[in-house]
Symmetry: C2
Subunit: 351 residues, 2 copies
């Protein structure tokens, strides 16, 4: 398999605080720097581990903001290439910059972009899916990985697959018919029932040159800025703030899907974006010391102190050295309101 | 007033952990040692303050267990007399011991027993009620203070008052008709509606000699043990474990009330036993830093960290350096189950 990935570079855009996991996640200690599942490895370390099983360290590129570069270097001692963004400009500039850097080294290279803060359960199946996605990407298609839905989630975008492609080394790859936004609950039920939809897990595998050509056509100003930075890194600080802040989904994936330029490889591995405490509760149990009396839910204490809950079901209790959060699993999606409110109250020490 | 109380001694039995206030209250740091209302004074300090306004330090006697004697001496630097119980034997041995000590100094003395962990809001009215109770006790009656109920509580015993007594210096004193146990909710409603009932706040004012005579008649073995200890303090350790463990309510107040030997002085002061977090919520608000979003209740953090609650009403959240409690105001009475469970799990460090 490793020889089949000789032209493959992995890109890890490491951004996003994960405010719905406050007070575990903080602006200065975002989700990807945390060991959320109690595995002993942080989410970015787990991401590194599963990509490093496929490619050497020299071909793994992390793109992150200046505030987190040092912590990432500490957590990933074998990391060679860190692209440090002067300011957050969303995922397209980050991935586009990495694509430009990679193409300048190898014009035929295929890149794969993988979030720094997701959890994947079967690394062998992950490697197999990536190998198929790389083979598919070599044909010129922007290829994504479609995760089989386990519930009618309204938190993810969906992908509708079409006919099988006939790509050597990618027996399961399918044409992509549509790339759809997060649905409402009823639509999500219909998607799940139809069997034709998979979750968009935000993984994109594409020839660097193909991605940059799409970008040149669809976002010419952004492309020009990235080309300038790749050619002359000294222009980074001056150019970066002028780049359009846009997600790769909107900049490339959606328009290219309408042109028939995308493919999907169905995942057979388990995937979780650990987007909120409801998701975290699926991933891990409460801390061993937790005392639930006529109660249930998720209790996490980062300082090994006891959490006791009496008479409340489906609660979420999180204790950190400086804060306690109490809410319900059903309200997990709203937790991001709290650091937002704290910021508005001037409590930036707590966000 | 002070000359009217020349024969009066105050007794403060300081026992009881207050397990329903866990994790604020602990076996090693019981409720009476805590500043629960944020006044800057602990409950036993407040008790001391209001009694010391009536009598000199030499006539205030604290009865407590060996584990708490030192902490009490630290909190009450002017305290002269501490009677240290070798083991907990409930309130009758504690108060009876103090009565025996006081009578040996002054055969005509009146004692008043006051819990170490209650909150009283109008100290002038308290002093006036005590003066009336002392005047009533001098006539030979066991006198209690009846607190006007503010709700149909099922957490307190009730007192049914009878006809006015004609005691000089005690214009509001009434005969006591009955001393009744904690009622069920419907009975409590009826008591409240009738207007004839007051709460038994556990305050007893009685001539030391009268109390000991009742005890000699009703609990002769207990009386003999206390007499031996008062006569020869060296016998304390040998005698104490043989004493009947019984509350003053059952040992004396209930039987004497049936004989017509009790009186009641209605209180015009505010009284709170701070028995659970529902009571504490009435007494104080949440900590200033608390963030309630679509939520309400009581949040207390003893280490000045933030408590944030999202989407839960009437919750109770308490954070101490080693534990977090989450429950509802309605379940406050059940909080004592938690330290009990922790003890059964061997977590004596947390109880």
């Amino acid at each position: 398999m490793s020889s089949a990935l000789d032209d493959f570079h992995a890109v890890i855009p490491a951004g996003g605080a994960g405010t719905r996991l406050w007070p575990l996640s903080r602006a200065a200690r975002p989700k990807f720097l945390l060991d959320l599942d109690g595995s002993g490895r942080t989410l970015i370390q787990q991401t590194w581990d599963r990509l490093h099983a496929l490619v050497p360290a020299e071909r793994i590129h992390v793109v992150t903001g200046a505030p987190h570069a040092e912590a990432i270097r500490e957590q990933l001692p074998d990391l060679v290439d860190v692209l440090v963004e002067p300011s957050p400009r969303n995922s397209m500039p980050a991935i586009g910059w990495a694509a430009a850097v990679v193409r300048s080294r190898d014009p035929e290279a295929v890149i794969g972009s993988f979030a720094a803060d997701h959890v994947i359960s079967d690394e062998t199946a992950f490697g197999a899916a990536i190998a198929e996605a790389v083979a598919t990407a070599r044909t010129g298609l922007v290829t994504t990985i479609g995760v089989t839905p386990t519930e009618p989630s309204t938190a993810f975008g969906y992908i509708r697959a079409g006919a099988a492609l006939d790509v050597p080394g990618a027996s399961t790859a399918l044409a992509m018919e549509a790339f759809v936004e997060k649905p409402d609950a009823q639509t999500a039920e219909e998607y799940l029932a139809s069997g034709a939809y998979t979750w968009n897990a935000g993984m994109f595998v594409v020839k660097a040159d193909v991605l940059l050509q799409h970008l040149e056509r669809l976002q010419p100003t952004l492309h020009a800025g990235l080309a300038r930075i790749a050619t002359d890194p000294a222009t980074l600080d001056a150019t970066w703030p002028t780049l359009t802040s846009i997600a790769i989904d909107h900049a490339v994936a959606e328009p290219v899907s309408l042109e028939g330029g995308m493919a999907v490889v169905p995942a057979t591995f388990g995937w979780d974006d650990v987007g909120d405490f409801a998701a975290l509760a699926e991933l891990r149990g409460s801390d061993p010391g937790t005392l639930f009396v006529d109660a249930s839910g998720l209790a996490v204490s980062t300082d090994d102190t006891l959490v006791a809950v009496l008479g409340l079901d489906d609660v979420v209790v999180v204790r950190t050295p400086d804060a306690v959060l109490v809410t319900t699993r059903a309200l997990s999606q709203r937790v991001g309101e709290l650091p937002k409110t704290l910021r508005s109250l001037g409590r930036t020490d707590l966000v």
